[in-house]
């Protein structure tokens, strides 16, 4: 109830904007391929839900690619962060490499990944998503593992706790909120990665392919519909992380409000 009240202004603004959009487009004689009205986007969505462009199966494909990339990128990010936090030499080697990888424009990498891992295979899209997800996860987990208050370490020292105990009782729980922040950044990037990968080729039943093909046929209401669905998938994944956060770290300032 409280969350409804807090989100009410945003909801009101959203629907008002939709109405204004609809009214402006239908009364200004604006051509549909420049900006379709919300109503025609909605009907394109319904018409192409399971037949035609097959937006619903496409959304499932794109979601699975993003989720797979999320999983790979997250695991890699955690492993590298753990390694760096444990051995500083590893950090000296891995950090510059990680920064360099994160600086590669995804647009440039996508065709290469499609070439390497098979343009028709979902693996190539997962790899592209994973590259994007890796960096925010790695950096956040690393910060969580290393930015521990000196007093906490001193307290553990007074208990004659070994480094394994410090890791398990202090560093790991300290890293959890950072990790969840990394996940929140990562989910949206994973979806972007998957869609961009599809953009450069792949099976047609995927959101990125629908965008390419509908746009080339000037069916922009379908393009918009695919974008809306992609956003909804992204928001859904984000909200899932938020829900996990509420359960996992109820004591954290971010969650307790």
């Amino acid at each position: 109830m409280r969350s409804l009240r807090r989100n009410l202004p945003a909801i009101v603004v959203f629907f008002t904007a939709l109405v204004v959009w609809e009214v402006v487009v239908s009364n200004s004689g604006m051509r549909g391929f420049i900006l379709p009205a919300p109503s025609s986007i909605a009907s394109a969505l319904i018409e192409n839900w399971e037949v035609g462009y097959q937006i619903w199966p496409a959304a499932q494909t794109t979601f699975l690619e993003a989720a797979g990339g999320m999983l790979i990128g997250t695991l890699l990010g955690i492993v590298v962060a753990l390694t760096i936090s444990r051995w500083s030499l590893a950090g000296d080697i891995a950090l510059p490499v990680a920064v360099a990888i994160s600086a590669i424009p995804v647009i440039a990498f996508a065709p290469i990944a499609n070439n390497w891992f098979g343009v028709l295979s979902p693996t190539s899209k997962m790899v592209i998503a994973a590259v994007l997800v890796f960096f925010p996860i790695m950096i956040n987990v690393l910060r969580g593992l290393t930015e521990v208050p000196a007093a906490s370490i001193e307290l553990m020292r007074s208990y004659a706790a070994g480094s394994w105990a410090v890791f398990r009782k202090v560093r790991l729980p300290n890293a959890l909120p950072y990790f969840l922040t990394g996940l929140k950044v990562g989910v949206t990037l994973a979806l972007i990665g998957a869609v961009v990968g599809e953009y450069f080729g792949g099976l047609n039943v995927a959101l990125g392919r629908i965008v390419v093909q509908s746009a080339s046929r000037l069916s922009f209401e379908v393009t918009w519909a695919a974008i809306v669905v992609a956003s909804v998938v992204g928001i859904g994944m984000y909200l899932l992380i938020v829900a996990v956060e509420r359960v996992a770290i109820p004591w954290h300032p971010e969650v307790r409000g």
Binding site: Y159, A160, W251
Partner: protein, 278 residues
């Protein structure tokens, strides 16, 4: 060294290398023996090394020369044997653990068996009167309550020695006085030896069996004041003539003079007026 000596500090110096400014002597020629069951406060101006001296006793730092023993062992071995508990100025509680789990932490580390562990945690929470808050998280507690959790945690594995580094420095005066009585009650109930660092004269006098007065640059103990106030010490203690005399004696010692321990009436009046203020 006598068998009842819990902390034995012999001819200790501690120097730090300050980058660009050479070597700084934090402590010089420190000798201090703390007996079983004593409550000793270290008081002095900032930079006199009182916290450093406490940290030496807990092997959180090592002496440059001289030796520190706890329970007849070198401080390092005493730390490995978990002979002491420590309470810092900040409570240093883990946000992700509730009150009970925070108190349980040292018992988890030493691998106390589950049933014994739960019993001990319950006992400690009873001791600091936080039983009904055992499921609360640190952010749901006041500063004074958080510090009581830290005390319960420090006492959890029954150490012989409790080190307290300005534990109530961040609390308001009212809470601080309540916490002082609380600490004395815990001390009386457990019979533990306490080393207490403070910058508050009334606090040091109210709590201690002995007050070690320190001076700065280099840090050294200039005077040991025996606090012969009756126990148990209560709210009335703070209004007692002898209390004011001792507060004045410590203050004089801090100033570096050999002030009068017997007060004339004018001085007593002045002491009453400022008595509650650190």
């Amino acid at each position: 060294m006598t068998s009842q000596s819990v902390v034995q500090i012999s001819d200790v110096t501690k120097t730090f290398d300050v980058p660009g400014r050479g070597t700084m002597t934090a402590l010089s020629g420190i000798d201090l023996q703390i007996r079983q069951g004593e409550f000793v406060s270290l008081i002095g101006p900032s930079g006199c090394g009182k916290s450093t001296l406490l940290r030496l006793s807990g092997d959180l730092t090592s002496p440059s020369t001289g030796t520190v023993t706890v329970n007849g062992k070198l401080a390092h071995q005493a730390r490995l044997d978990r002979d002491y508990g420590i309470v810092f100025q900040a409570p240093v509680l883990f946000d992700w653990r509730n009150v009970e789990e925070n108190v349980r932490l040292p018992l988890e580390l030493i691998g106390t068996e589950r049933a014994a562990r739960e019993a001990r945690v319950a006992e400690m929470l009873e001791l600091v009167e936080l039983t009904e808050f055992r499921r609360h998280h640190p952010y749901q507690l006041s500063g004074g309550m958080q510090q009581r959790v830290a005390i319960a945690r420090a006492l959890a594995f029954e150490p012989a020695l409790l080190l307290m580094d300005e534990p109530f420095g961040a609390l308001d005066e009212m809470t601080r006085e309540r916490m002082n009585s609380e600490v004395l009650r815990v001390w009386a109930q457990t019979g533990i030896t306490v080393v207490f660092v403070t910058h508050s004269i009334p606090e040091a006098v109210f709590l201690s069996s002995r007050v070690a007065v320190m001076s700065a640059r280099p840090g050294r103990i200039t005077k040991l004041v025996d606090i012969d106030l009756e126990r148990p010490r209560t709210v009335e203690t703070r209004e007692n003539r002898r209390y004011f005399e001792l507060v004045t004696a410590v203050r004089e010692a801090l100033r570096g003079g050999e002030g009068p321990v017997e007060l004339d009436d004018l001085e007593l009046e002045r002491a009453v007026a400022e008595g509650g203020i650190g």
